[in-house]
């Protein structure tokens, strides 16, 4: 019973969503929206589970004084501070327990929650995102090392695309006659991005879509049960 009820629910909801895609008439047209709403409600209850997991995992590490326990303590303190200031004075448009906190907001320029968010959290998130630039460089360096025919091809294409995206490319190939316009680096770059690149991406998207159909069908029919914590 514990196994069959989720399978029946998965079958009914899966079939309803598929049917509603092709029947715009009420009530079918609202099914997807309704199910998404239900998912949001269930998700909001599950948030508590996440918070409990976060607090217990961090407290255990701090209590056990495991390696680098200071980081876990920093995480707990950050969490506690954000929850406290959020509860006390609220956020930009929402009041907290102590109201809008106008006096503090006047000193800081914004509410404490928004202040910490903007001046502590945002720079940290931007720093993480900025790492991407350096990682792209290191990954590209490894990818462009010529080892075989494919990596050779990749490197040549990459050089064309990288050069083609700069203003230098126009100067470099401006001497090529207009009849051979495709050989101008910006044109060649556009060609590579528009045709071979788009074709490859669409092939992946089509294959992923087929995978989604197969996977969904296995789940709807109850053939695939691993996600329920079960085997065959």
């Amino acid at each position: 019973m514990k196994r069959n009820i989720p399978l029946i629910l998965a079958f009914i909801s899966g079939m309803l969503v598929i049917i509603s895609e092709f029947i715009p008439h009420y009530p079918f047209g609202l099914i997807e929206e309704t199910l998404t709403g239900w998912f949001m409600i269930v998700s909001s209850f599950a948030i508590l589970l996440g918070q409990i997991s976060l607090i217990s995992a961090n407290i255990n590490r701090v209590v056990e004084k495991s390696q680098n326990w200071q980081y876990y303590l920093a995480g707990l303190i950050s969490f506690a501070v954000m929850v406290t200031v959020g509860l006390l004075w609220g956020m930009e448009n929402t009041p907290g327990i102590l109201g809008q906190g106008a006096s503090i907001a006047a000193k800081l320029g914004s509410k404490p929650f928004d202040y910490i968010f903007e001046y502590a959290y945002m720079p940290l998130a931007s720093t993480m995102f900025a790492l991407l630039a350096f990682y792209i460089a290191s990954a590209a360096y490894r990818a462009f090392i010529i080892r075989n025919f494919e990596s050779n091809l990749l490197m040549i294409t990459a050089v064309i695309v990288i050069l083609g995206r700069t203003s230098f490319a126009t100067a470099l190939t401006s001497w090529i006659p207009k009849s051979l316009t495709l050989l101008h680096l910006p044109e060649l770059t556009d060609f590579i991005m528009q045709y071979p690149n788009t074709a490859a991406q669409r092939a992946i998207m089509i294959s992923a879509a087929l995978g989604v159909i197969g996977s969904s069908l296995r789940i709807i029919l109850g053939i695939e049960r691993s996600y329920l914590g079960g085997g065959k």
Partner: protein
């Protein structure tokens, strides 16, 4: 003779009246959910601009469209079904003489079938029928050839390496919530991976971005350890919530990789901008890395920085492939049939377009 003249005059009058009546019409937008009307007009060449108006809540007509064409149409959306809507078309003359004012009204109606999606329905039925046929064939004992997926074959090698080194395995189930099929596919793979790691007595770390994923991942891993006959080795604290925030999550997982130094990393599920940050950090720690996603833009990053990459459909096929269950393997054969069908349709589409038969492409483009 007088009688004939009278009939002729009446006929001319009727034609002119009927002609004017057909210049502007409002009709229900076909095959939709009753939220739109289609407005069509046909003006004589003396007109050079137009104003399409509808009354607001106070009954005052307001312009909402003014792009001129001699004959054209305009879709008015976000309407309430079974409600009467009035429209007014004012057509201005090029020589600044009298303007022509035409009125029309209609009710949008809900339809029982989205005809614009007929091609999708046919394709869906054909592909689903193929998948079901191959599952049925597999059930009857037919031997089906399934091509090897090296990224999945290497899973055991990666777990073995982690066991030898006495290091844990890191599994990242993407950064999407449980309503994304890629996350479900990742959890299916996690089930197999957890079973293997239980057999090898290797720790499995699963940091989650969403509470729903955390709950499902815990249940999946717990069941796998039970199935492997080692429920005592299941450690709930190894499957934990990090944060909902994208880059906060990345920072957390990067920290785990640097501190715990897992010998094998698995990045399976939906990934966006963080994909390369995660995998390059993993590369830096020297872990053997397997990644897979359905996001085409992230696949190049994974290919460059991981040892094995599951591309597109392979992520969704992984669970069936790893289970070695003939019923599930049958569905993979159905995927291959789908690919063959798409290739044939693309080739046929090219031929039809060259032949000037645009209806074929239009049928598959669909609408609504």
């Amino acid at each position: 003779m007088k009688f004939v003249k009278l009939i002729a005059v009446c006929l001319l009058l009727w034609i002119s009246v009927a002609g004017e009546a057909q210049e502007f019409e409002a009709i229900d937008f076909p095959w939709d959910n009753g939220s739109a009307l289609l407005l069509r007009w046909k003006l004589d060449p003396s007109r050079d601009s137009l104003s399409l108006q509808k009354p607001d809540s106070l009954g005052i007509y307001r312009e909402f469209f003014n792009e001129f064409s001699q004959s054209g149409e305009c879709k008015d959306g976000d309407l309430v079904s079974d409600t009467q809507y009035k429209y007014r078309l004012i057509a201005y003359a090029a020589d600044r003489t009298d303007s022509l004012v035409l009125e029309a009204s209609a009710k949008p109606r809900q339809q029982w079938f989205a005809m614009g999606k007929l091609s999708f329905l046919i394709l869906l039925i054909v592909i689903c029928a193929a998948i079901l046929y191959f599952i049925w064939s597999a059930r009857r004992g037919k031997d089906l050839f399934i091509r090897r997926i090296s990224g999945l074959d290497s899973m055991e090698e990666a777990i073995g390496r982690a066991t030898e080194k006495g290091k844990p395995i890191l599994f990242v189930p993407g950064i999407s919530d449980l309503d994304d099929i890629q996350t479900i596919a990742a959890l299916n793979i996690l089930n197999h991976l957890a079973f293997k790691s239980a057999e090898y007595n290797t720790d499995l770390i699963v940091p989650c971005r969403f509470s729903m994923v955390l709950s499902a991942a815990r249940e999946t891993v717990k069941e796998a350890y039970l199935r492997a006959g080692k429920p005592d080795q299941y450690r709930e604290e190894n499957i934990f919530y990090v944060t909902d925030d994208q880059f906060g999550y990345v920072a957390g997982v990067d920290g785990i990789m640097v501190r715990e130094q897992p010998a094998a990393n698995f990045f399976l599920g939906a990934f966006w901008a963080e994909s390369l940050i995660l995998t390059e950090t993993g590369f830096g720690t020297g872990a053997i890395q397997t990644a897979g996603t359905g996001q085409p833009h992230q696949i190049p990053f994974f290919v460059v920085s991981c040892d094995y990459t599951l591309i597109g459909e392979e992520l969704f096929a992984a669970s069936a492939y790893l289970s070695r269950d003939p019923h599930q393997l049958g569905s993979l054969k159905g995927h291959d049939f789908g690919k063959l069908l798409v290739i044939l349709l693309i080739l046929l589409g090219i031929v039809m377009e060259i032949a000037g038969l645009a209806w074929f492409k239009q049928f598959f483009v669909g609408g609504n």
